[in-house]
């Protein structure tokens, strides 16, 4: 885990699994619940060390989430780890009724979110999860951008008494935390780059894309401000309003449907508090066939695409 902070192209799933194992060593209430997803969730090491604390219900997501609620009732701290499309889509009502409405102390960890399953197509993409989870009453939603943030979010979730949803990315990402300690604070955005011409608000895999877009813009003489909004709920209202005041236009970027996702969250806030022209970038629709890189190009989720949207917005305001 220690090498994660400097290794470019590190997998957040490894940070997730390593942190969970470290937590489990220190606290016997920590258990993992999964749906045949030991491999895809990187839980092999957890199973090896704590075979009796890995509850694998098989391919049965509704039961998986219900079982987690029951384990929480019995005093455990379950981390449900499953591919995000099936965790959120298949078990939505269990998440609503058994976990969030019941206030069960369960951590819902959506693995491989967004379009990370690439060619497997829209059935396996999880682009709706942020909108669905945001609709639930006061559910903390965390989208770590790198391994350090993943680690910080998992540690926080274990200590927090209540349900949490977090996305655990499958893409290899470079570190954007830059040695910050803590790498992530609940409810707080990180200003990764100061700038006064335009603001780019990004989450997860799109944070490094936003930083690269800012470099593009810099070469054109545009000073972009970049925010990592890893906490989608609660939202860092002050950071967003302040950025809107400083730069005017705001571009949001996410590997998700912006309707109800990060884009929706920022737009809802600004519409009420500080009306601001925006561009909402994301995976707007069911994707065509293609690998992840192709899909990012298709949806303009590239440094060039984000820079272009920023310049369009500046030209329009």
């Amino acid at each position: 885990m220690s090498g994660a902070s400097t290794a470019a192209g590190y997998d957040c799933r490894v940070a997730f699994a390593d942190t969970l194992i470290a937590l489990a060593r220190a606290d016997d209430r920590i258990v993992a619940v999964c749906n045949d997803s030991v491999g895809s969730s990187n839980l092999g090491g957890f199973r090896e060390e704590f075979p009796e604390r890995l509850i694998n219900v098989g391919i049965a997501e509704q039961n998986m989430v219900g079982v987690a609620a029951g384990l929480a009732n019995a005093g455990f701290i379950p981390f449900v780890s499953a591919a995000s499309p099936f965790l959120t889509g298949r078990a939505m009502e269990q998440i609503k009724a058994d976990i969030v409405y019941s206030g069960a102390n369960v951590k819902l960890c959506g693995q491989s979110p967004g379009v990370s399953y690439g060619e497997l197509g829209p059935t396996h993409h999880s682009i709706e999860d942020l909108a669905w989870m945001r609709a639930l009453d006061n559910l903390p939603i965390v989208v770590p951008a790198d391994p350090e943030q993943t680690r910080a979010a998992v540690l926080w979730a274990a200590a927090f008494d209540g349900p949490v949803f977090m996305r655990i990315g499958r893409h290899r990402v470079r570190s954007v935390s830059d040695g910050r300690d803590p790498a992530w604070t609940p409810g707080r955005a990180e200003v990764l780059l100061e700038g006064d011409d335009i603001t780019i608000v990004a989450v997860g895999t799109m944070v490094e894309v936003a930083l690269a877009a800012a470099e593009h813009l810099g070469r054109a003489g545009v000073h972009a401000r970049v925010l990592n909004m890893a906490s989608i709920h609660p939202l860092d209202r002050d950071a967003i309003i302040e950025s809107a005041r400083i730069t005017g236009g705001i571009v949001t970027v996410e590997e998700a449907v912006p309707r109800g996702g990060l884009g929706g969250a920022v737009a809802e806030l600004l519409a009420v508090e500080h009306p601001t022209r925006m561009r909402l970038l994301g995976t707007h629709a069911f994707a065509p066939t293609g690998n992840v890189d192709f899909l990012f190009e298709h949806f303009s989720l590239t440094p060039e695409g984000v820079a272009r949207a920023a310049q369009d917005l500046m030209a329009a305001t």
Binding site: A60, Q62, N63, G66, G70, L71, G75, P78, A97
Partner: protein
């Protein structure tokens, strides 16, 4: 006998408790102008056996870690659950009059954040049993001796989530879990068998690996006996309790219309007369 022990020591006392649950539910529903009296009456005897004779719980400390867990998965039978909880001491009986009113702790469906003694929020069907499976696994992992009981409505057995849970409970050998099916043969609009047939329900449960007993769900003595018998090690227990919707009231029994019809004052009086008359 410590304060955690169930209060009834005889079948007569449990029968009396069932009568009080029925009358309390009826008055609660009539007062609120809404509820599901048919399903409350089919499940009242089962609730009386559980709260009167089986469950080790602590009304003065609802979160007592070693309590038996009980889930009313058919959350629409909230009025009978609240009445049973009140009679067991979890809430004042007078509070039943607030059922479904503004900001009442007693909502149309059970909510653990509001009502002491409720373990998980139910209402949408097919939710209670998976949660119960998680509780039973948790007890096993802790080496705890408390048991988990789940009541489901029979119509609810059409939900796939229940069969996911039934399969997994047997796989895990959860002999500390008991499923009670309120087999009243009626769902909201029609009979279960004409809608999506459940029979042979006992054979299905046995095929899934459960120790399954079919009994008369209004015969409290037999139900109490079965629940007190030793479990088969490594085998979850299912009881298919054959019941009658609206049991005990001539004009309600077996009629789908009484799923959620609200009785008039005259009907309440007649129902109470019939219920108490049958008891005396």
């Amino acid at each position: 006998m410590d304060r955690h022990d169930p209060p009834c020591t005889t079948t007569d006392e449990i029968t009396d408790l069932a009568l009080r649950i029925r009358i309390g539910s009826l008055q609660t529903i009539a007062n609120a102008g809404l509820g599901h009296v048919g399903g409350d009456f089919s499940v009242s005897d089962i609730l009386a056996v559980l709260y009167g004779g089986i469950l080790r719980v602590d009304p003065s400390d609802p979160q007592w870690p070693d309590r038996d867990r009980f889930i009313m998965s058919k959350g629409h039978a909230a009025a009978s659950l609240y009445t049973a909880l009140a009679l067991r001491g979890f809430l004042p009986e007078s509070e039943l009059a607030t059922f479904a009113g503004p900001h009442s702790r007693l909502g149309g469906h059970p909510d653990r954040s509001k009502t002491p003694g409720v373990e998980t929020n139910t209402g949408p069907l097919g939710h209670g049993l998976p949660v119960g499976v998680g509780m039973a696994i948790g007890a096993r992992m802790k080496g705890a001796t408390w048991r988990t009981y789940v009541i489901v409505g029979d119509g609810e057995m059409q939900e796939g989530s229940n069969w996911e849970a039934i399969m997994y409970a047997a796989h895990r050998g959860l002999d500390n879990l008991t499923l009670l099916v309120d087999r009243n043969r009626l769902q909201q609009g029609a009979g279960t068998e004409e809608t999506n047939a459940l029979d042979p329900l006992d054979a299905k449960l046995r095929a899934f690996g459960w120790d399954t007993t079919v009994l008369d769900g209004h015969d409290v003595g037999t139900l109490w006996d079965v629940l007190r018998q030793p479990v088969i090690p490594g085998t979850p227990r299912a009881i298919v309790a054959e019941t009658v919707k609206g049991k005990g009231v001539s004009f309600m029994e077996g009629l789908a219309a009484w799923h959620h019809r609200v009785p008039t004052d005259e009907q309440v009086d007649q129902a109470i007369a019939e219920l108490t008359g049958a008891r005396s």
